[in-house]
């Protein structure tokens, strides 16, 4: 009976989490268009609803009802599976991400490893999509993303080693609780090198500007999903935005103290202590999402070889230095 109860609770939790997550993704597209619009002296979506607030709904309806085109030369089976792999991987990462104390679907003790591992599976979707499309542009995009994501995953994982050392745990809730004893209630200051490496690697890992080479529209037209249309196309987009949220949440948890309030803020304004943790968590996530949009409105794109050399020659050595420094301090204190 206990098992049944547990399963029921998990399903309900997952459903609520999933619903809220989808809402966030839908409005992340809206926020992105608005932010970039204002950066570029435009207004962004303005027609559907007041200030275009219903635009994401209209987009979803349009994408669902579009004709699903599968070109005749593609490898049909892999072509249809590829977006599902990407999406499933992106969704699964959220199973272990806590949004507040105890608000988590599954509080496993190797949370960070799980997130990194599952996020890595998403690459298969992209490679499969590029390969099965039987198109040269998609093929190049797929190859680029394979090389890019694998090399940046190394940097991403290494940047988190410092955090793991300091928290002495892989569990995400544990990591947040451990940060209370550090200045401002965050690992941000002691792990500033790690945070820098993490932010750069997370941009590359999610294929965002300035590392959006797999889908570089002026070079490869659209990269790996050039042959996709309708709902399959939107699944890739969904996966990309989910990955962005996942990385933002990871940055918040590992470096920004998760749902905790910086203690000095509570000292100055005691009343903000009553604000629930989830609000702080979301604010910190939104900041990172804004960072993604902001950079997209500002930066040009790196070239393929430059991207690789940044990953291997700058980020990984920096992450290694960070690990060494953290270990030494940890050992002597």
């Amino acid at each position: 009976m206990d098992t049944l109860y547990l399963i029921a609770v998990t399903i309900i939790k997952t459903a609520i989490y999933f619903g809220l997550l989808m809402l966030h993704v839908a409005y992340a597209t809206y926020a992105e268009r608005k932010v970039i619009g204002h950066i570029q002296l435009r207004l962004g979506p303005m027609v559907v609803g007041p200030h275009g607030i219903l635009q994401p709904i209209a987009d979803i309806i349009k994408l669902i009802f579009k004709e699903d085109i599968i070109p005749s030369a593609v490898d049909r089976r892999i072509f249809t599976i590829a977006p599902l792999i990407s999406l499933t991987a992106a969704l699964s990462t959220f199973a272990v991400i806590p949004v507040s104390e105890g608000w988590v679907i599954s509080d496993i003790n190797v949370g960070i490893l799980y997130v990194l591992g599952i996020a890595g599976i998403g690459i298969y979707g992209i490679i499969f999509a590029g390969w099965s499309s039987n198109s040269k542009y998609a093929f190049l995009g797929g190859l680029r993303s394979a090389a890019q994501m694998i090399s940046y995953e190394v940097a991403l994982a290494m940047s988190l080693v410092g955090v793991i050392l300091m928290a002495e745990s892989f569990n995400l809730t544990e990591i947040v609780n451990k940060q209370a004893q550090y200045p401002m209630g965050m690992f941000l200051l002691p792990q500033i090198i790690g945070y820098f490496v993490f932010v750069v690697a997370m941009l590359a890992e999610t294929n965002r500007v300035p590392f959006d080479l797999p889908e570089a529209e002026t070079e490869l037209v659209a990269g790996y999903f050039v042959e996709y249309s309708g709902i399959r196309f939107s699944l890739f987009y969904l996966a990309e935005y989910l990955a962005m949220f996942c990385m933002s949440a990871l940055a918040t948890i590992c470096f920004w103290g998760g749902w905790t309030v910086p203690p000095f803020l509570v000292e100055i304004f005691p009343f903000i202590g009553i604000i629930p943790g989830v609000v702080w968590f979301l604010l910190k996530v939104y900041f990172h999402m804004f960072l993604f949009f902001w950079l997209r409105g500002t930066l040009p794109r790196y070239r393929y070889d430059q991207l690789m050399s940044i990953g291997w020659k700058v980020l990984i050595p920096l992450a290694l230095i960070n690990i060494v420094i953290t270990s030494i301090i940890k050992y002597y204190s």
């Binding site: 570029q40 002296l41 002026t218 070079e219 490869l220 500002t298 040009p300 070239r303 393929y304 430059q306």
Partner: protein, 395 residues
């Protein structure tokens, strides 16, 4: 693994590709990301402008030249008019010369704005595109104010210009020109101090001065390699010998230097316009002896069957000008390079042959040299940096 059966991947880039600036088609043989061979194919926008002009009188060909380089139609018009004026020996009134210079430089700014917009977009900086379009919009409005058209202006006439400019136009133009250098700095802060931009452009797509001359490059593409040549300085036309301006040149001949040259030209163009407004003399805008078209008194009176006979050139006296089979070459400094018109005429009112020396056509030829050995992303940057317009290239 059997490597004997491997071969290069052939990628067809264009004619429908977001970054080939129109309908350029490149066939690339790539090994991984490295280009082994690059063959440009042109001709997708061929409209036979040169052949068409053989069936039109000297005055009627003017609107055709609009369609060459549609981003700076004013300069094309001026080039054609100067060639015909040279042929007929017409002296243009001073005021018309200044007006032409003002509008030519406006066209140059317009064209360079489109260039910086698309070039930055190709390299991935999307915001510059919309910033540049904001300023271009203002200039197009100014064009519309004088000529009634935004892109294909057909404004100059053989022997002058079509209509005079007024006080309101001059005021608005001065406003724009005074603010413009700040705007250029705005673009530069967005891209020029950006590490990513510098990494993408410095040392990429190098053309040495010698190569540039041998390939016949002109305009900013040539000056980026450090060669001092500008038609406006060496063979002055219109009012360019009466104003003070500098010709910026680069040093290394890479994408960055070509970019820098054009950015400096923005400021020189603004300077030229400013001086022209100050020095603008009063007087006629069309020479007395310019060829005129006889129009029907009202468009309603035209019989549809006669339409081709009603509108004709009243210039039987052209034959007086042209005593014998003669030819003329005149060139102007278009935003992309030296735009030349070579006209061979017989004793009729129509050219026997008109040849357009289009800078884009010459520049498209240098693409294989720039791209071979480079990466796919560099191809896009190179196309942007030599700034070709396929309308002019294919004619």
């Amino acid at each position: 693994m059997n490597l004997e059966n491997t071969k290069e991947l052939i990628i067809n880039m264009g004619p429908q590709h977001p970054a080939t600036h129109g309908v350029l088609r490149l066939v690339l043989e790539v090994e991984g990301e490295v280009i082994k061979r690059c063959i440009p194919y042109i001709g997708y926008l061929h409209r036979g402008v040169e052949k068409l002009s053989e069936d039109l009188t000297y005055v009627q060909s003017l609107p055709l030249t609009d369609r060459l380089d549609y981003l700076s139609s004013m300069v094309n018009n001026v080039g054609f008019c100067i060639a015909v004026e040279k042929l007929m020996g017409i002296e243009v009134p001073l005021r018309a010369k200044f007006i032409r210079t003002i509008l030519s430089e406006m066209a140059r700014i317009c064209s360079h704005l489109v260039w910086i917009a698309t070039h930055a977009l190709d390299i991935g900086a999307m915001t510059v595109f919309l910033y540049a379009m904001r300023d271009r919009e203002k200039l197009l409005e100014l064009f519309e104010m004088v000529t009634g058209a935004r892109l294909t202006v057909s404004y100059p006439r053989v022997g002058g210009v079509r209509c005079d400019i007024n006080e309101e136009f001059i005021n608005e133009l001065s406003d724009f020109i005074n603010k413009f250098p700040e705007r250029v700095e705005e673009y530069e802060t967005l891209i020029d101090k950006n590490r990513v931009w510098l990494k993408r452009t410095k040392g990429v797509g190098v053309i040495t001065a010698e190569e540039a001359i041998n390939w016949g490059l002109t305009g900013p593409t040539l000056r980026g390699s450090g060669v001092y040549y500008d038609v406006r300085k060496f063979f002055p036309y219109d009012a360019y010998d009466m104003v003070d301006f500098e010709v910026p040149i680069g040093k290394n001949g890479d994408i960055y230097d070509r970019y820098k040259c054009r950015m400096l030209e923005f400021r020189q163009s603004a300077r030229i316009i400013k001086q022209c407004i100050e020095k603008l003399p009063e007087g006629a805008i069309l020479a007395e002896e310019s060829p005129k078209i006889r129009m029907p008194s009202s468009p309603l009176k035209i019989d549809k069957n006669d339409i081709q006979f009603e509108i004709y050139v009243e210039d039987r006296n052209i034959e007086d000008f042209i005593k014998k089979f003669t030819d003329v070459y005149a060139s102007v400094e278009a935003p992309r390079g030296e735009l030349g018109f070579y006209i061979v005429c017989d004793d009729s009112a129509k050219p026997y042959r008109m040849r357009v020396r289009a800078p884009s056509f010459v520049h498209a030829g240098v693409l294989p040299k720039l791209c071979e050995g480079a990466l796919i992303a560099d191809v896009i940057a190179n196309i942007g940096s030599i700034d070709i317009v396929l309308g002019e290239c294919d004619r």
